[in-house]
């Protein structure tokens, strides 16, 4: 029992460092390690992973708050969609055949590696032209943020609120179902659909992750999917790892780490897909 706890602590530290450097939630790394590496039932892996998401989100939001770029109103309004989605997702995990969980997780990892590749190729941010939007004005979603590079306040407007809200519901389902932060989907809802600039999108998404995960984690907690011997050392490891990771990030060029990590994500994604399809080597 003692070895398991130490091993989990180690996995947590690794996931925390990797998450902080790569800008992805610990959840994406934890579930494959626990299921493929250690043969744990995927439902318990998801339970441990959602706790890791809360630890990561609460830890990193503190840093974002200092930067003053997030949009609290956008976060709160869209959290209605993500929390409902997260509860639906958590309930779905209980009834779904684990085979489908592996398949979905595999697809998610493949998508994430593509997304990371896309991020690498993205150039300078250009503020998109946005038509004045009635719903956005009514909900006071337009905001401004301070751009550190350009050293000035940037005002922005958002549009297409219903589409963003729907994508957020989907992001919530994915988060609850697979025990991930689903930050990539949240950023997509704000940046691609609502035309919000990338910086406030990503910090707002980080803030939302914790609240979204709290909704599904509550369901998992009370239905017994969260095993303390796994979740506790893992969460403690994540907190240590995230603190170390943010230090390491200041020294190492994150671009190169991303380039190395893309094939790793693809490989793990493939493994999860094979496991879901029942193919063995």
């Amino acid at each position: 029992m003692g070895e398991t706890a130490l091993l989990m602590l180690g996995v947590g530290v690794f996931a925390g460092i990797a998450g902080a450097i790569l800008g992805i939630g610990g959840g994406m790394i934890i579930t494959p390690i626990l299921t493929l590496g250690m043969g744990l039932n995927i439902k318990y892996a998801i339970g441990a992973s959602i706790i890791a998401v809360i630890a990561t989100s609460s830890g990193s939001t503190i840093a974002y708050l200092r930067d003053n770029v997030l949009n609290l109103r956008v976060a709160m309004f869209l959290e209605i969609a993500t929390t409902i989605g997260a509860i639906a997702g958590a309930l779905l995990t209980g009834v779904l055949d684990p085979k489908y969980l592996y398949l979905l997780f595999g697809c998610l990892l493949v998508f994430s590696s593509w997304n990371m590749y896309r991020k690498l190729r993205r150039g300078q941010e250009v503020l998109q032209r946005v038509e004045p939007d009635k719903i956005a004005a009514k909900l006071k979603l337009n905001g401004s943020y301070y751009d550190k590079v350009e050293m000035k306040d940037v005002d922005y407007q958002v549009e297409n609120v219903p589409a963003g809200f729907s994508v957020m519901f989907g992001a919530g389902v994915a988060s609850g179902l697979l025990g991930i932060g689903s930050g990539a989907f949240k950023v997509m809802a704000m940046d691609t659909f609502m035309k919000m600039p990338l910086k406030p999108s990503s910090s707002t998404s980080n803030l939302m992750m914790g609240v979204t995960a709290a909704a599904s984690a509550t369901v998992y907690f009370f239905n017994g999917s969260i095993l303390p011997t796994i979740a506790v050392p893992m969460a403690l490891g994540i907190l240590i790892g995230a603190a170390l990771g943010s230090r390491i990030m200041q020294i190492l060029p994150s671009r190169w780490i991303r380039i190395v990590f893309i094939p790793v994500l693809l490989y793990i994604g493939g493994q999860m897909l094979f496991k879901g399809l029942g193919v063995h080597f």
């Binding site: 029992m1 003692g2 706890a5 706790i51 809360i54 630890a55 989100s57 609460s58 830890g59 939001t61 503190i62 708050l65 200092r66 003053n68 997030l70 609290l72 109103r73 709160m76 309004f77 959290e79 209605i80 929390t83 409902i84 997260a86 509860i87 958590a90 309930l91 209980g94 909900l139 006071k140 914790g210 609240v211 995960a213 709290a214 909704a215 599904s216 984690a217 509550t218 369901v219 998992y220 907690f221 009370f222 239905n223 017994g224 969260i226 095993l227 303390p228 011997t229 979740a231 506790v232 050392p233 969460a235 403690l236 907190l239």
Partner: protein
Amino acid sequence: MADKPATAKEMAQVETVIGRILQIGVIFSAIVMAIGLILFLATGQSGYPGDTLPLQFGAILVGTWHLKSFAIMMLGIYCLILTPVLRVVVSIYAFYREKDHLYVAITTTVLIILMIALVIGIYDK
């Protein structure tokens, strides 16, 4: 302009408070989890028969009082889950101070959804 609430400055204060709450919540739950884990590793006993876990509030609190390692670990996990919930509660107060009734309603809705999650979790076994 005079009776318009000082949004930017007030919001900045609110964000500082939210950050502090997250910080305290995370540190507190980490300490509780660590105590439970150390106790479990030292005694090798969960305090419960077989693979059972304490899942009700009452059982967790009573178990914590009796220094059962699993109860303390579960309490720590629950405190960590509550950290973002607490953030929602503080935001409701912040929007209320700002006299933004629309956002008091929106944020309260989020809190109600989180409470529904609690009820669903308890009955979904």
